[in-house]
Symmetry: C2
Subunit: 224 residues, 2 copies
């Protein structure tokens, strides 16, 4: 395993992030880089999920990961170690989210891969407010957090077309009502897909992989 | 159970939050209101912990709770229902934290109680950056989140004199290394207290209650 590159992000100077995000999205489309923004609470299992998913996807695609964190490089090291894929650490210097210009600073290091995952800062509030320029927004919720998260953090569920419910192996030990959770998700987004997984046991990782493969093929088709 | 009062917070206009927070702290000292800022990730168990704690503390003190949330009033309703104590819901209108002026807007509704708890927005990043004017900062971490949280969210552990580790009843089902967690906490704060609890089973809630009682008596002593 090589050394992990750490990028200290600069605060964005661009005034209109939405416009900048659209511009980044267009440029990535032209380069056929499928950029995925993965958001969640701290400890919902972003890194473990990405490792499990990438180890399947890398058989068909070139994949890279950008790990955003306030501090530390443990996630980037872990991803590189367990997937062998290109992984960089983005240090936000205290900032609670990643926007389009910060994405660009990281993507410059990645080159033209088929898929680049952004593991956003663990936070259900701020990342939802800033369009990172991704082709797809994903939120990971986990069973121990409880079924009321869509109720309390509406925007992130509104913005995410894929909701991954992780740690379903822990379902017997927590009071988690699947119907309540789904009802909450539906209130925020009528069309998003919910996939239940356990990144730890590997349950439904095949299903998740298939979802991503189909998505990428569909996305490429539009711009072929 | 009466109706829950919802306060839609106004964005603060005061420029220097640190100065404003000191001012609020002084005024609360004079009024002998012990104001406690409780922070954590979404779903770490702030509400359940507060309910268990308040049901003990209310035997000796008058207690109130301010529940900060982007949306919904489920927590304030729950606290009122299960403790009978005064509870208000603070709606942040998308804001990711509570600062001193926002605290003041809520505290106005509470009157002069012995203890007022603020359940801050579920977020390990932003709330740590804004001094809420509290006499005491508390962070709740939970076993399912993993033992690396102090490593990844340094500021909140630096600012908190009490670290509550919740959901220890789930310890057998997760890879959580107590030594790693404590090492991480110590790197951020050499003097903070760590108390392990299960708000669900009630384990160590007596210990936590004693900690708070001692703290309040000590704090009152200083300004008696």
């Amino acid at each position: 395993m090589g050394k992990i590159r750490i990028i200290n992000l600069q605060r964005s100077v661009f005034e209109d992030n939405d416009l900048d995000a659209d511009r980044l999205r267009d440029s990535l489309k032209k380069r056929k880089v499928f950029y995925v923004n993965v958001m969640s609470s701290p400890g919902a299992g972003k890194t473990t999920t990405l490792i499990a998913l990438i180890n399947r996807l890398k058989q068909d695609f070139s994949v890279g990961v950008m790990e955003a964190d306030i501090d530390s490089d443990v996630d980037a090291v872990k991803v590189a170690e367990f997937t062998g894929c290109k992984s960089v650490q983005l240090h936000t210097g205290g900032m609670c989210h990643i926007d389009a210009e910060m994405s660009r600073q990281g993507l410059k290091e990645m080159g033209d891969l088929d898929i680049v995952f952004l593991e956003n800062v663990g936070n259900l509030v701020c990342p939802a407010e800033f369009d990172a320029g991704a082709a797809m927004n994903v939120v990971i919720s986990s069973v121990p957090e409880g079924d009321d998260k869509p109720l309390k953090y509406p925007l992130i569920f509104e913005k995410s077309e894929l909701v991954i419910l992780n740690k379903i192996d822990a379902m017997p030990y927590f009071d988690f009502d699947r119907n309540e959770f789904e009802k909450g998700v539906r209130e925020r987004n009528k069309t998003s897909t919910i996939i239940e997984i356990s990144a730890k046991t590997g349950e439904n990782i095949d299903k998740l992989t298939k979802y991503f493969k189909d998505k990428i093929i569909e996305w490429r088709g539009y711009y072929a």
